[in-house]
C-alpha cells in the first residue's frame, strides 16, 4: 500500500502541472488585466502609467515566461503578493481558511448526522410512507437553488423576524462581548449558512445511503445473519451498515476540496469571510496571484481527496488490495 501511495503521489505531479497551466491560461486569457482594473476608474492615469504598472508586476513579459516564473515560485509555496494590497496570497488564504473550515465541517457534520440515519430508515421502510416523505424532502433540498433559499431565509429570519444576523461571521461589537457572548454571536451568524449548506447537500448522501443499504439488505450474508438469530440492531449496524457505507467514503473524499475551497456564490451571498469569497473577489479584481493560489490549492486538494478515498477504501474493505 505504501508503494501505491508513492506511485499515486508521483502521478499527481503531471496532473497538477496541467491544472496550473490551465488555471494560468484561463486567468491570463480573460479580457482585462489587473492594471486595467486598478486604473479604469481613474481618468488621470496615463497609458505610460498603465504600462509601468504592467512592468512592475511582470505582466508585459511573454506568457510562457510569466508561467515558468510563477511555477518556480509555487514550488517554494510562494504564490506571490496580491495585486490589490501587496499582501502574500498564501497569508490571505491562511486568514480565510479557518472560517471556511468551520462552516463546512459543521455543515458536513450536520449532513452526516441527518443523511445516514435518514438513508438507513428510508431503506428499512422502503416504499412506505417514511421513505416517500424522506425522498420528497431530500429532493426538494436538492432542487432548490442554494442562493435562492439563502435569500428567502435571510429575508424571513434576518429582515422580517429579526432573529438572525444577515451576513458576516461576527457582529460589529464582537470584541466587546464576553466569551459566552462571543460564542453565541458566532453561533447566530453560522445558523443560516450551515443550515442552508446542509439542507441542499443532504440529498446525495441520503440517496446513496438508502440505495446502498437496500442492496446490502438483499445479500445472503444478511439473511444468514438473521438465520444465526443475531439481534436486529447488530445485523443492521454491524453487518449491513458497515458494507453500505463504502460509497460514502467516495463522496467524502470528493467533498474535501469543497471543504477547503468553500462556495463562491454561497459565501458571497452571506458576505462570509471564507475562501470562496476571497476567490470571487480576486477573480473580479483580476488578482492573478490570489486566484491562482486558490485554484492550485483546491486542485491539489481534489487530487488528495481522490487519493484519500482510494486509500480509505482499501482500509475499510479487506477485499481491496492496492498494488
Amino acid at each position: 500500500m505504501i508503494n501505491y501511495f508513492f506511485r499515486r503521489l508521483l502521478l499527481t505531479i503531471p496532473v497538477l502541472l496541467g491544472i496550473t497551466l490551465l488555471t494560468f491560461l484561463v486567468m491570463h486569457l480573460t479580457p482585462g488585466s489587473p492594471a486595467d482594473t486598478m486604473t479604469d476608474m481613474n481618468l488621470k492615469v496615463s497609458a505610460q502609467a498603465k504600462s509601468r504598472l504592467a512592468e512592475l508586476y511582470g505582466l508585459n513579459k511573454p506568457l510562457h515566461v510569466q508561467y515558468v516564473r510563477w511555477l518556480g515560485r509555487i514550488v517554494r509555496l510562494d504564490f506571490g503578493n496580491s495585486f490589490r494590497d501587496e499582501r502574500p496570497a498564501i497569508r490571505k488564504i491562511a486568514e480565510r481558511l479557518p472560517a471556511t473550515l468551520l462552516l463546512n465541517i459543521l455543515s458536513m457534520g450536520l449532513i452526516l448526522i441527518i443523511a445516514i440515519p435518514l438513508g438507513v430508515l428510508a431503506a428499512l421502510y422502503q416504499k412506505k410512507l417514511f421513505d416517500t416523505v424522506a425522498t420528497i424532502g431530500v429532493y426538494i433540498g436538492f432542487s432548490i437553488p442554494a442562493f435562492w433559499l439563502a435569500l428567502m431565509l435571510m429575508i424571513l429570519f434576518g429582515l422580517k423576524l429579526g432573529w438572525l444576523p444577515l451576513s458576516g461571521l461576527h457582529s460589529i461589537n464582537y470584541d466587546d462581548l464576553s466569551l459566552p457572548g462571543k460564542c453565541l454571536d458566532l453561533a447566530r451568524h453560522l445558523v443560516l449558512p450551515v443550515f442552508i449548506s446542509a439542507f441542499t447537500g443532504l440529498a446525495g448522501l441520503t440517496r446513496y445511503t438508502r440505495s446502498s443499504m437496500i442492496d446490502v439488505l438483499k445479500q445472503d450474508y444478511i439473511r444468514m445473519a438473521y438465520a444465526k438469530g443475531l439481534p436486529r440492531r447488530r445485523i443492521l449496524f454491524h453487518h449491513a451498515l458497515k458494507n453500505a457505507l463504502l460509497p460514502v467514503i467516495t463522496i467524502f473524499g470528493l467533498s474535501l476540496p469543497g471543504l477547503i475551497g468553500g462556495g463562491f456564490i454561497f459565501e458571497t451571498i452571506f458576505a462570509y469571510p471564507g475562501m470562496g469569497r476571497l476567490g470571487y473577489d480576486a477573480i473580479m479584481a483580476r488578482d492573478y496571484p490570489v486566484v491562482m493560489a486558490v485554484g492550485v490549492i483546491v486542485a491539489f486538494l481534489t487530487l488528495a481527496g481522490n487519493l484519500i478515498a482510494d486509500m480509505s477504501y482499501a482500509i475499510a474493505d479487506p477485499r481491496i488490495t492496492l498494488k
Partner: protein
C-alpha cells in the same frame, strides 16, 4: 421409532399477487433423516426453504417444528432449531468481517475450542479465524458456511443447492462431507437440488417439485427405480451416463 421433527401442511405463497411460488405444499421430516427436494429453477424449492427456516412467511398453511408452531419461536430459538446453508458461498459470508467473528457470532461467543471442534469436522484448520472470506476458495467458503450452521447444533439443516456454485471436484468433497454428517452424526437435513442423481445419493426420501407443487414424493429408491410422474421420468432421463 422415528419422530417427526418438522411438519409443514398446505403451504401457499404468491409473490406480487401473480407468481405462485408454492401451491399446496406439504412435507414431513423425521429426526435423523434426509429429505431431498428436487426441481428445476423456479419450481419453488428456495421459497420453500426460506419459509421453513422462518426467513419469509407463507400466505397460508402451518409449519410445526418439534410439535410447536414456527411462529411461536422467538428468532433466536428458531435459529437453534433450523439453520440454512445457501447456494452461493461467495455471497453468504459477510466480506467485511473475519471468519472468526462470523463463527463466534454463530456460536453465541462460546469458547474457540468448541468452534475448533466443528471446524475439524468440516476439515478446516482453526488458523482461518483471522482471515476474511475472500481469502478462501469456493469449497472452503462452503465448508465455513456449513461449520457456521453446525455451530448452532440445530435440529434441522436446510441446504439450498449447496453444490451448484462449486466446481465438480469441490462438489464431490462437499457431498462427502454431507454424507459423513448424515452417517456419523445423524444430522437431519433438507437437501435441495436440481440434480436428482446427487440428491438420491444422500436422501432417504425425495420430493419432486414443479411450478410450486410437489408432484411426486417417496423413498429415494422408489423415486429412482419406480418413478410415476412423467416429469420425474424426464428428470431421470436427463441424468448423464457414461455412455452418453
Amino acid at each position: 421409532m422415528n419422530t417427526t421433527i418438522l411438519q409443514a401442511q398446505r403451504l401457499y405463497k404468491t409473490f406480487n399477487r401473480t407468481v405462485k411460488a408454492l401451491d399446496d405444499v406439504s412435507i414431513e421430516l423425521s429426526a435423523g433423516s434426509v429429505l431431498g427436494i428436487v426441481g428445476e429453477s423456479g419450481s419453488g424449492k428456495s421459497t420453500l426453504a426460506r419459509i421453513l427456516c422462518g426467513m419469509i412467511a407463507c400466505d397460508t398453511g402451518t409449519i410445526e417444528i418439534d410439535g410447536k408452531n414456527i411462529d411461536a419461536y422467538p428468532r433466536k430459538q428458531l435459529s437453534e432449531k433450523v439453520q440454512m446453508i445457501f447456494q452461493d458461498p461467495f455471497s453468504s459470508l459477510n466480506p467485511k468481517l473475519t471468519v472468526g467473528t462470523q463463527l463466534r457470532e454463530a456460536a453465541g461467543y462460546r469458547a474457540d475450542d468448541a468452534i475448533g471442534e466443528i471446524l475439524a469436522k468440516v476439515e478446516l484448520p482453526p488458523a482461518i479465524f483471522a482471515s476474511y472470506p475472500h481469502q478462501f476458495s469456493g469449497g472452503q467458503r462452503q465448508r465455513i458456511a456449513i461449520a457456521r450452521a453446525l455451530l448452532k447444533h440445530p435440529a434441522i439443516i436446510i441446504a439450498d443447492e449447496p453444490l451448484s456454485a462449486l466446481d465438480v471436484t469441490t462438489q464431490n468433497q462437499i457431498l462427502k462431507l454431507f454424507q459423513s454428517m448424515k452417517d456419523e452424526h445423524q444430522t437431519t437435513f433438507i437437501f435441495i437440488s436440481h440434480d436428482l442423481a446427487v440428491t438420491s445419493a444422500l436422501a432417504d426420501n425425495i420430493c419432486i417439485m414443479k411450478a410450486g407443487k410437489i408432484i411426486e414424493s417417496g423413498t429415494a429408491e422408489a423415486i429412482i427405480y419406480a418413478p410415476e410422474s412423467p416429469y420425474t421420468k424426464e428428470l431421470l432421463a436427463a441424468v448423464p451416463t457414461m455412455s452418453q
